[in-house]
Amino acid sequence: MATPILEVVDLVKRYRAVEAVAGISFAIPAGTCFGLLGPNGAGKTTALEVIEGIIPATSGEILFKGAPKTASFCDEVGIQFQHTALLDFLTVRDTLLIFRNLYQEVESLEYLVELCNLQEIMGNRNNKISGGQAQRLMLALALLNKPTLLFLDEPSTGLDPQSRRHLWDIVRSIKEQGKTVVLTTHSMDEAEYLCDEIVIMDHGRIIAQGSPPELVRRHCSGTIISLPRERVTIPLADLPLPAREVNGQMEITVERINVGLETLLNLKIDLSEMTVHSPNLEDVFLNLTGRKLRE
């Protein structure tokens, strides 16, 4: 079996009484997209920053290409932070050129400008570009040194749907070049679309790990019918199907959709605002924790 490009062993990060990361372990094969999925405050960003070397670990081990990290780690990885800033009075072009000069081996600027769609803002100052443009610039900076391992911390936060989709396409094309991508997200769509393997984190711990289809198979079954709570006029205990209330919606799980619908119609339940969906990562998280990812 090939050596994982990154291996995390029993990683702990503690801030006085608070255990932000409580002993997580995983290994990431080269060339894959690996996701850390979890709600806000789950410990994803802290775990990522410890791995990146931004903050020190309380305990645990991080192996890069099978060995402890060395000074060359920052030459081989690219990082896009969730929250960061650039020098206000520099233009996008200045910024790219300055960061480019900090590395030995660098990517072609033309390629990055085109990949991240920065042509139109190259002359703009960093404090005059939009949030989406700043995210694309940050991604270009993360790719400047031709990294073999790319860390993206909530890369699509604050982006409009079109920019988000564009970002996903960029990440996919990066992965197709054989680079390894590690990303944190609280978006199940993003994780499902981009990630080959996911760990789901909650309260600093890993509560599930696997590929998105595997996780769904392992933790969910059947089909889910959602209805506004008020449509279900009978007591929950009298409903002959497994159901639960989530944020004012009644979620009823059925093994066979036809049988389920027939049962609900026989109970004279109004199905006019009904939605039906197959289980996804959101349902996995709900089943594991009793909460939604965005709660």
Binding site: I54, T84, A85, L86, L87, F89, D94, N101, L102, L141
Partner: protein
């Protein structure tokens, strides 16, 4: 250590400074404003003059035509007479130390007022009393010192340059680094091959370059306007200011080596800069101050910078003659840079 990375960060900081038109403009305008203000307020006037209020009189120009004051007192040099219409208006100014002495000019018997706590009032009283006694040239030997005199503005000019350098060095480095740490700009740099020492060196060099650039423009600009006395070598003065700038910049780097609170940093920088402003002889000499104040002032790098600059500008001293001041400035720089680099954190 990579000079390419240092050069890159040096350029980045310089771009920022020159493109921030507000900060850039203020760095040049501030010393001009201070010097111009002092030149206008005190230009050509004797700072040691005692202000003597005289009543009754019309305001401003005093009419002595019907005065009973002795001629000798009225002709005393370095006295400035200010007219008041009545006693009350004169007393109001005396109580607020706006004049040093108040005298009635139409009284046959000498009548005057002074504040009990005012040293200048005491001196004016002694002069007033002596003016009633005939001159006695029978004591001592008087010798007049001739030559080029140093005006207050000549003495003040190095102080203004040094003060501007101090604020620019401390805030331009210390405050900026803390702001970058707080907003995450330093965190972004941390994950590149750039080392803390390279970053700090680039910041210090950039600040020195900017300080020197500002210093040269302000020096020659102010000299054109006010024609300052420059007895020594321009190059020696430049070297002294570069050493002073390095020492002040390194203090800024040390203060900014850790922390993300701009308020705390601002407080710390004020705590450092205000004693220097008042005790390093920017505005006035410490001659006559208590010994402990003078000893404390010796700990401040600005004291040594200004002493060396004044020796060169006012007295024509050479670099060798100010070597002890230069050594202190180099020592402060090395200490602060080494400790600052050891304590430096990109994100904490």
């Amino acid at each position: 250590m990579s000079w390419k990375r240092i050069w890159t960060m040096f350029k980045a900081r310089n771009y920022e400074f020159f493109r921030d038109t507000a900060a850039f403009g203020w760095n040049f305008l501030f010393p001009f404003l201070i010097i111009a203000g002092f030149a206008i307020a005190f230009g050509g006037r004797d700072f040691s003059a005692l202000k003597v209020g005289v009543f009754p009189s019309v305001a401003e120009k005093v009419d002595f035509s019907r005065s009973n004051l002795p001629e000798k007192f009225l002709k005393t040099e370095h006295l400035e007479f200010i007219g008041f219409s009545d006693l009350e208006s004169g007393l109001a100014k005396l109580r607020h130390h706006q004049i040093d002495f108040l005298v009635r000019q139409d009284s046959p018997t000498p009548q005057y007022w002074q504040l009990a706590s005012s040293p200048k009032g005491y001196l004016a009283e002694r002069l007033f009393e002596s003016s009633f006694v005939p001159d006695d040239h029978g004591f001592g030997i008087k010798e007049t010192v001739a030559g080029v005199e140093t005006r207050y503005i000549d003495w003040l000019f190095p102080g203004i340059l040094g003060m501007n350098m101090m604020f620019s060095a401390l805030w331009g480095v210390g405050y900026v680094i803390v702001r970058y740490r707080k907003n995450g700009a330093l965190k972004r740099l941390k994950v590149t091959p750039l080392t803390a020492f390279e970053y700090l060196t680039a910041q210090a060099l950039s600040r020195i370059f900017l300080l020197t650039f500002t210093l040269i423009v302000v020096f020659f600009g102010a000299d054109l306007l006010f024609s300052f006395r420059m007895a020594g070598s321009h190059l020696d003065l430049l070297i002294v200011f570069v050493l002073g700038g390095l020492s002040l910049t390194s203090i800024g780097l040390l203060v900014a080596s850790r922390g993300t609170s701009e308020d705390f940093t601002s407080g710390a920088l004020n705590f450092i800069s205000w004693p220097m402003m008042f005790l390093s002889e920017v505005w006035f000499s410490l001659e006559g101050a208590p010994q402990w104040v003078k000893s404390f002032a010796e700990l401040l790098p600005l004291t040594h910078l200004l002493r060396a600059a004044r020796k060169i500008m006012n007295d024509g001293a050479t670099l060798t003659q100010v070597s002890s001041e230069c050594l202190v400035l180099i020592g402060v720089t090395l200490f602060c840079l080494v400790v600052g680099a050891a304590l430096f954190s990109w994100n904490e």
